[in-house]
């Protein structure tokens, strides 16, 4: 009799434990620089600094999507081949010996970025270029480049607006592609970029308010350009000195409170209101929840197993829907005289490739006399007709 309440208490505590810690089971990072050209060296250095930090704190390369629009390390202007520095002391080579760039050069576009977030790709897109997250994934999205009020330029050719970004995040939420998301942006008027977000469980921070510029920190005379931006520099400064190992219990509040406006030269902003529990809850989130790779294990109990069967039923229903759609497609395809059994995607690719003939044809040079004779006869014939016509005209 006396044992029963104690047992119940243990279960209650255990369930509470599970409730509070059943958070994320994987960490992903999307690190985007959006500037091309050598003079934007610092933006690539920003992103590579973050890349190095998240890698240091345990996120593997397979879970980091790195987008670099230009090549700085092997740029002919770089006096240090194969190297990118973020400090004039050149103590740390960010490019190192092991770097995996997922999107580079012309691949860094607004379209690809939104496709990456929403996972809408064509067939055959490699796994390493996809963000394969689920509803238990925490994602760090870091962006840097040149921006303005509610937009960020990509490669000086196109822009992503704050509305596009908000809609992409909403689609991610609807598709259960994240658990919590930390959005960080270092650009001019950065805080306007997160002002339009409306999806839950996003914490957003930016380097500067509306009508404020974000500035670079310092330049390296031998590299010849500025090497890092102020906001990123002080973020890194905190992460390097305070978050030294994956067991760190530093919170996001500690990180955001470390921002010194007199050093950053702009007013960094934080947005908590999208998170359940708001600022009080958000301030307790650990830095390692987003910058590190903490793998919480969730043990399935009976209730979740029931969920599982339900989920399977949903899947089955979805499969039936797809089958029906495919059948309808096949019927329409058959009507268009496409061979049966080919599904729609294949039929489409066939139509595209049908115009592509195989290899080049051999050019036959033909300068035989027969062809010349034919040509000459044709010309003479025409001349004859013309003469006959004019003769008849004159006779009349």
């Amino acid at each position: 009799m006396a044992r029963l309440p104690w047992f119940q208490l243990v279960i209650a505590v255990l369930s509470l434990f599970q409730f509070t810690f059943a958070e994320h089971t994987s960490n992903w990072a999307v690190l985007v620089s959006t500037s091309r050209f050598w003079f934007n060296y610092r933006h690539l250095a920003n992103v590579l600094s973050l890349y190095r930090t998240v890698k240091r704190l345990g996120i593997p390369d397979s879970q980091i999507i790195l987008m670099l629009p230009d090549d700085m390390a092997c740029n002919p202007r770089n006096a240090f081949p194969g190297t990118v520095f973020n400090n004039a002391d050149r103590a740390l080579d960010l490019y190192g010996e092991n770097v995996e760039v997922d999107y580079r050069g012309y691949e860094v576009t607004v379209e690809n970025f939104i496709r990456l977030l929403t996972d809408r790709f064509g067939e055959g897109w490699p796994r390493s270029k996809r963000l394969m997250t689920d509803e238990r994934s925490n994602i760090l999205v870091y962006m840097t480049g040149h921006g303005g009020n509610e937009f960020l330029k990509f490669q000086d050719a196109e822009e992503i607006s704050a509305f596009d970004l908000a809609d992409a995040f909403e689609q991610m939420w609807e598709k259960k592609r994240y658990h919590e998301l930390l959005f960080m942006i270092d650009t001019c008027q950065a805080n306007t970029m997160y002002s339009k977000l409306y999806s839950p469980n996003i914490i957003a921070t930016g380097s500067s308010e509306i009508d404020q510029s974000s500035y670079s920190h310092h330049a390296d005379n031998d590299v010849g350009v500025a090497v890092i931006d102020r906001y990123t520099y002080y973020n890194l400064d905190y992460l390097e000195t305070q978050v030294t190992d994956p067991t760190s219990k530093k919170t996001l509040a500690d990180l955001f409170d470390s921002y010194d406006e007199s050093k950053i030269h702009s007013h960094p902003g934080v947005r908590w209101d999208l998170l359940k529990g708001g600022e009080t809850e958000g301030r307790q989130r650990l830095v390692m929840d987003f910058f590190g790779n903490v793998q919480n294990v969730e043990i399935e109990d009976k209730a979740s197993k029931n969920n599982d069967t339900q989920w399977r039923e949903d899947l089955e229903a979805l499969r039936r829907l797809i089958d029906a759609a495919r059948q309808a497609n096949n019927e329409s395809a058959r009507a268009e005289n496409v061979k049966p059994g080919v599904d729609f995607a294949e039929a489409a690719s066939e139509q595209v490739t049908a115009s592509q003939m195989p290899g080049a044809a051999k050019v036959q040079r033909d300068d035989s006399w027969s062809k010349r004779a034919v040509g000459a006869t044709a010309l003479l014939g025409c001349l004859g007709i013309w003469l006959a016509g004019s003769w008849l005209e004159a006779k009349r």
Binding site: C74, P81, G82, W125, Q356, M357, A361
Partner: protein
């Protein structure tokens, strides 16, 4: 010594065939070149028997690549990442006769097994997409506009049955603008069994490789069968060739910018008439510079790769250096190694043991005999001619340096926006000797065959393949004209004003004799070209919007004014003087007063 490279080549070929069933080899050849350059040629070979490959049992053959090849039904794969230019005149013949070399950027060609052309195309797309993920390169940009099917220039290296050969489709694509950097080297090293941690691959460092004057990384996968048997292995060969500058690589990595040395350290040429205390002409040294493997590559060789099976081969070691016999080579003495010399002493090979660092040091030395450099049989260059934004021309000069006539195939893969006029294709030949140089005329029999596939806007590029014949000791000039297309506004890349890269032409020398060394062919690639296209002013849409808005505002404003205002002549308006103004103001005040008073009066009245 004139066939030095071919001997080396033969050596390699022999090893590969004698031990076709063995698993993994690696070899490094170091060869000092004139002007303090150093050629380092790395070669790694791993095999998997075709039965184990089909069962997805991988040992040395990398699984990541193997699965891609199986998924895309690719039988033979050739992938190249290249940078820089090989200096034919100073450095002689190319390593591997150019067969392990690619054009600037990324070049990929593969034999894909498919029943139909459509199937081959879709498998090719699968392959390029998968490889782009594996090698961190934008290989997915090789679409139908950049893919061709060469007719004569490439031949498969593997062995196939007649039946399977019928279903093989050769596809070829290039990305001349693609940068090659550390992120491409990282996956390249991860394919190796020792992953750059031990063996000669431990020398491969991005900081040195991408500082090289010329470098090329190659991956070749081909099925190799024993003579008259069905026992086949899938052979993967990874090759890295680079030409390093010894002086340049001696600079410290954290401070590589050359700064003038203090005058005390400079040896002056006192024979110069202007030599004085403050003027100095540095002595041009004739001696061989001092260098060491650690100095040039930044680190020593981290022992032998324990997985490499080099001990079977009696003919060669793992690290070979190609220097004259009198050149002093000091291996790091603290460990045991095996030294063998071949080829009249011009080739010395070392076999370090696993687990300990290995280094070679060569002191500065005055040599009486230099290692001979074989002059290449052929040079090629290509450039643009013409001016203006509408049309242009291409001029390729191919020089035959050998005393016998050479037949070669010339392959061009042009982008669709460069529209070739085939009727303008002209060839002229000019012998070296002065006496005959006057008779420079067009020979129609120089071009023996033409394969041509015209471009279709936005769907495919031009494919031009010629079979040419060059007389001995003469240079052939090939010219053609083209028209530049105008792109749509959204088709321009972000750096459109830089120009558009045109892939290098591939030249294959078809050997006249039947010495079968890798098909007996020599490859040569020209440099890529930068084609400036007419670019619009990209701020134009904004200017147009602003200008139209201004015009509309002006128009609207004046019409609105005309509609709502009444215009009268100046003299119709009563003149305004100060008295009148005063009386008006007074009148208004009076009226206000009256209205206040009036209100009060009414109250009283009620």
């Amino acid at each position: 010594m004139s066939f030095f490279y071919s001997i080396l080549f033969f050596l390699w070929f022999f090893i590969s065939h004698a031990h076709a069933t063995s698993d993994y080899y690696e070899r490094l050849l170091l060869r000092p070149l004139p002007q303090s350059a150093l050629l380092a040629s790395f070669n790694f070979r791993s095999n998997a028997s075709s039965t184990s490959f089909d069962r997805q049992h991988f040992r040395y053959f990398p699984r990541s690549l193997g699965q891609i090849l199986q998924h895309a039904h690719t039988k033979e794969l050739h992938l190249r990442f290249s940078l820089g230019r090989w200096d034919d005149e100073n450095w002689g013949t190319r390593p591997w006769n150019g067969t392990r070399e690619g054009g600037t950027g990324v070049e990929l060609w593969a034999w894909v097994e498919a029943e139909t052309n459509e199937e081959a195309n879709s498998r090719w797309l699968t392959l390029t997409n998968a490889l782009s993920g594996l090698f961190c390169a934008s290989l997915n940009f090789i679409d139908s506009t950049k893919t061709i099917r060469p007719a004569m220039t490439f031949e498969h290296e593997g062995k196939y049955t007649v039946k399977s050969e019928k279903n093989l489709h050769l596809l070829h694509g290039t990305l001349p603008h693609e940068v090659v950097c550390t992120e491409n080297l990282t996956p390249f090293l991860k394919l190796l069994p020792c992953k750059g941690k031990a063996g000669i691959s431990s020398l491969l460092d991005g900081h040195k490789l991408f500082d090289a004057t010329w470098q090329t990384m190659a991956i070749d996968v081909r099925p190799v069968c024993k003579q008259d048997s069905l026992d086949c292995v899938l052979e993967m060969e990874q090759t890295v060739d680079m030409v390093l500058d010894i002086e340049r690589s001696a600079r410290p990595r954290d401070n590589p910018i050359p700064r003038p040395p203090p005058l005390e350290d400079v040896e002056c040429d006192t024979s110069k008439p202007y030599n004085a205390e403050d003027t100095c002409f540095p002595i041009v040294k004739d001696s061989e510079p001092a260098w060491s493997v650690t100095g040039v590559f930044g680190r020593p060789i981290k022992g032998a790769c324990p997985l490499a099976e080099n001990y079977h081969s009696q003919s060669s070691g793992m690290i070979c250096i190609n220097v004259p016999p009198e050149r002093e080579v000091i291996p790091s003495s603290e460990l045991k190694y095996e030294e063998r010399s071949h080829n009249g002493g011009f080739l010395r090979c070392y076999e370090p043991s696993a687990g300990a660092d290995f280094d070679l040091t060569l002191p500065e030395q005055q040599l009486s005999i230099k290692a001979p450099i074989e002059q290449p049989r052929m040079y090629a260059s290509r450039s643009f001619t013409g001016n203006g934004q509408e049309r242009g021309g291409v001029r390729a000069v191919i020089t035959n340096n050998s005393p016998e006539s050479v037949s070669l195939s010339y392959l061009e893969s042009l982008p669709w926006f460069m529209k070739l006029y085939l009727h303008t294709l002209r060839t002229t030949v000019k012998p070296f000797t002065l006496s005959t140089s006057t008779e420079e005329d067009a020979h129609s029999d120089l071009i023996r065959e033409v394969y041509y596939r015209p471009a279709v806007d936005r769907h495919r590029g031009t494919h031009l393949e010629l079979l040419l014949n060059i007389p001995p000791l003469s240079s052939l000039t090939l010219t053609y004209d083209f028209e530049k297309a105008i792109l749509r506004y959204t088709e321009y890349p972000p750096d459109a004003n830089r120009g558009f890269d045109v892939a290098p032409a591939v030249i294959r020398m078809l050997s006249s004799s039947n010495s079968s060394l890798h098909g007996g062919s020599t490859y040569l690639r020209t440099t890529s070209l930068l084609l400036p296209l007419p670019t619009p002013d990209f701020s134009m849409p904004y200017n147009v919007i602003i200008l139209t808005s201004t015009v509309m505002a002006l128009g609207f404003g004046s019409i609105f004014n005309l509609l709502v205002r009444r215009f009268v002549a100046a003299d119709e308006v009563p003149a305004l003087d100060s008295n009148e103004l005063r009386s008006k103001v007074l009148g208004q005040i009076e009226r206000l007063k009256r209205s206040f008073r009036g209100k009060g009066a009414v109250g009283k009245e009620d």
